[in-house]
């Protein structure tokens, strides 16, 4: 049902001050958008039809029902509201929704069955060159890519629930995929069963907050070539690897929870070629590798808790002037592992659960320096099969002798004032 302003308009046109009315009309159409209701027995029975007849800034309300929507292009600013049970079904053919104009809102829908392809990135919701788009509280399932945003700005992607069925990396798409975007906000989404939960490539000044990504095939959250971004309060559970941050600068990572990312190439957090980032107040629990650092420089790690990981922190080549302070290393199989004897990173005032020193002057800092790299972690790096001797008495003995006089482990790698209490 489309309400009309025609009678009012013609009445007004009889009067003389024509230009005033035109102005009034413009304001009127801008502020008082019409509402188009779509339901299966209504006059307007498909979403496509509604979008065609809608004027810019109209609202389309979609009632419960199954609507086949294949590659629906929206080229004017519209608000699409789905009522509970409103399903947009892509019939496994193509894109489902294509948002190609600014200020489009898509909210409350259940969107399912996008096409699958090895040459095209079919997505349930596709956004291209648009700003101020809002994608809120949708349920997206059985999609190739769930939400794919390209060359856009100031979008909000919030409260969506993405459920995929990915088995292999090569045959699946990402949950929320952003490419060449700026000032985006991604929050309170839940993504599971996709390739990457959230993927950001060339995305600057964006915020990723309160998301929960779990059981994805590859990464929970993946950054490439993205600068000045922040992700906080997210939870990453049982993904192929928790979070990978690669080739990015000035990333802030705060209060995230990395949990049970298990496997041969599995990390809570993978940092590759990262500069000037901050990692603080995160929790890493029961991951194969808590933090894996490769070629990262000028990073600050503080107040993180690493508990019961296989490796707390694994440092690979080319990491310079990183600072680790006030972190908790608790019951990890290996707190810290280095693959070389060089060390240019600082460890200061961390809490190490395996620290055996004492604190005579009661300043809460141990009087004996702590050496976090054990000989056995060096041996396991060289010969991975020796992992089977973990916690053996013989290994404890050789670790002790190495602690007394370091030969194989970096001798300058010392925490001079290890904390007695955990933070």
């Amino acid at each position: 049902m489309r309400e009309s302003y025609q009678p009012v308009l013609s009445a007004l046109l009889n009067k003389k001050c024509f230009s005033l009315f035109i102005t009034f009309l413009l304001i009127c159409s801008y502020v008082q958008a019409t509402i188009i209701t779509v339901c299966q027995n209504c006059e307007v029975s498909t979403v496509t039809q509604a979008v065609q007849m809608a004027q810019p800034y109209d609202t389309i309300k979609v009632q419960a029902g199954e609507y086949e929507t294949v590659s629906l292009e929206i080229k004017k600013p519209l608000t699409l509201l789905g009522e509970p049970g409103a399903n947009l079904n892509g019939a496994e053919k193509n894109y489902i929704l294509k948002l190609l104009a600014d200020s489009i809102t898509v909210s409350g829908f259940s969107i399912l069955n996008s096409g699958r392809s090895y040459t095209k990135d079919y997505a349930a919701v596709y956004v291209y060159k648009a700003s101020h788009v809002k994608i809120i509280n949708n349920k997206i399932s059985k999609a190739f890519f769930a939400i794919l945003v390209e060359k856009s700005k100031n979008a909000v992607i919030s409260g969506n629930n993405v459920l995929g069925t990915a088995k292999k990396e090569s045959q699946s798409g990402n949950g929320i995929h952003l490419w060449h975007c700026d000032s985006m906000k991604i929050d309170k989404n839940e993504v599971t069963g996709m390739r990457d939960g959230i993927y950001l490539e060339f995305v600057d000044n964006s915020l990723v907050k309160n998301n929960y990504t779990h059981h994805n095939v590859r990464y929970g959250l993946h950054f490439m070539f993205s600068n000045h971004d922040e992700y906080t309060d997210n939870k990453f559970e049982q993904n192929g690897a928790g979070v990978a941050v690669m080739f990015s600068k000035w990333i802030v990572m705060k209060r995230n929870h990395f949990y049970k990312n298990w496997g041969t190439a599995s990390y809570g957090l993978l940092l590759k070629e990262i500069y000037d980032g901050e990692v603080y107040e995160n929790r890493f629990e029961e991951n194969t590798i808590g933090i894996y650092i490769d070629g990262s420089t000028r990073m600050t790690y503080s107040r993180n808790t690493l508990r019961q990981n296989g490796w707390g922190v694994k440092v690979s080549g080319g990491c310079y002037t990183n600072v680790f302070k006030e972190n908790n290393f608790i019951s990890n199989s290996f707190d810290l592992s280095y693959n070389s004897q060089l060390n240019d990173n600082t460890f200061n005032n961390n809490f190490w659960s395996e620290y055996t020193g004492y604190d005579l002057d009661k300043d809460d800092k141990g009087d004996v320096p702590y050496r976090p790299v054990k000989l056995f972690s060096y041996i396991v790096n060289q010969t991975p099969e020796t992992i089977i001797l973990l916690r053996s008495l013989f290994v404890d003995i050789i670790n002790f002798s190495e602690k007394v006089s370091p030969v194989f482990t970096p001798d300058k790698l010392v925490d001079e004032s290890p904390s007695i209490r955990s933070f």
Partner: protein
């Protein structure tokens, strides 16, 4: 046999060593829980301790009891009782009383600190089971050594050496071998080698609970299969059982042919 078991058992229960052993575990359990006030942390510390300590105590107790009760054994041998019954009864007496000390000694403190309300109940029972297994294995091995050596000093020496070998030297040799042959595929060797040492085996059983995240970091498919599924636990338990059956069998066979 039951009579002999009963006799050995009550004999050991009367001796002060069982009480000292019991009190040791009681104190250990209480102190650990008092210092940590966290059941799961205390279990981790205990796991490290138990794989070394129970074999040592089992070995010393087993060989000591065998030599001390030698005269009584000879007296029994003069009676119309079959030899296997005598030795099996004595063996069970020692192993049961030691296991009982272990279970009570650690069970009481943990019960008081509320193990049943904790999620660690499985880890804790795992700890007690592997401790009991190790006791049974090492008592059998040390009685076997006693049977083969009439000379007390020699017997003691061999028993301690056996413990030292299995607890420390074996792992050292294995480590050196693995580092030397690191260019070759080693996962078969690593797993097989640990089957030949009960201490390693129970250590791995414990690792499966504690350090599973680290163990899964290794790429070998065999490791993945062994550690990633329930197969690891079942196989370990089965082989530990073999480690009891074979020495006990050898013990009974030797006892039949031994000239006292």
């Amino acid at each position: 046999m039951i009579k002999i078991l009963k006799y050995s058992f009550s004999d050991l229960m009367r001796s002060k060593w069982s009480y000292i052993y019991l009190i040791f575990y009681l104190i250990l359990g209480f102190v650990l829980l008092f210092l940590n006030n966290d059941v799961s942390k205390a279990i981790i510390t205990l796991m490290n301790l138990i794989v070394v300590l129970t074999p040592l105590i089992g070995t010393i107790f087993g060989i000591m009891y065998y030599y001390n009760s030698r005269e009584f054994t000879e007296l029994l041998l003069a009676q119309p009782v079959s030899r296997s019954k005598i030795f099996f009864g004595q063996y069970l007496g020692i192993a049961l009383s030691l296991s009982l000390s272990l279970v009570i000694g650690l069970g009481v403190p943990f019960l008081i600190y509320g193990i049943f309300q904790s999620t660690e109940i499985f880890n804790f029972s795992m700890l007690l089971v592997s401790g009991a297994f190790l006791t049974f294995i090492f008592v059998a091995l040390s009685v076997l050594i006693g049977l083969y050596n009439s000379n007390k000093i020699k017997g003691f020496g061999y028993a301690i050496l056996m413990w030292l070998f299995l607890a420390v030297i074996y792992d050292g040799v294995l480590l050196i071998a693995m580092v030397m042959f690191r260019d070759y595929p080693l996962d078969n060797l690593a797993l097989a080698a640990s089957f030949f040492n009960p201490i390693d085996l129970s250590r791995i059983m414990i690792l499966l609970k504690l350090d599973i995240s680290a163990l899964l970091g290794y790429t070998g498919a065999l490791f993945q299969k062994f550690f990633g599924t329930g197969a690891g636990l079942v196989t370990s338990l089965f082989i530990l059982l073999l480690w009891i059956v074979i020495p006990v069998g050898m013990m009974l066979k030797k006892s039949k042919s031994k000239d006292f």
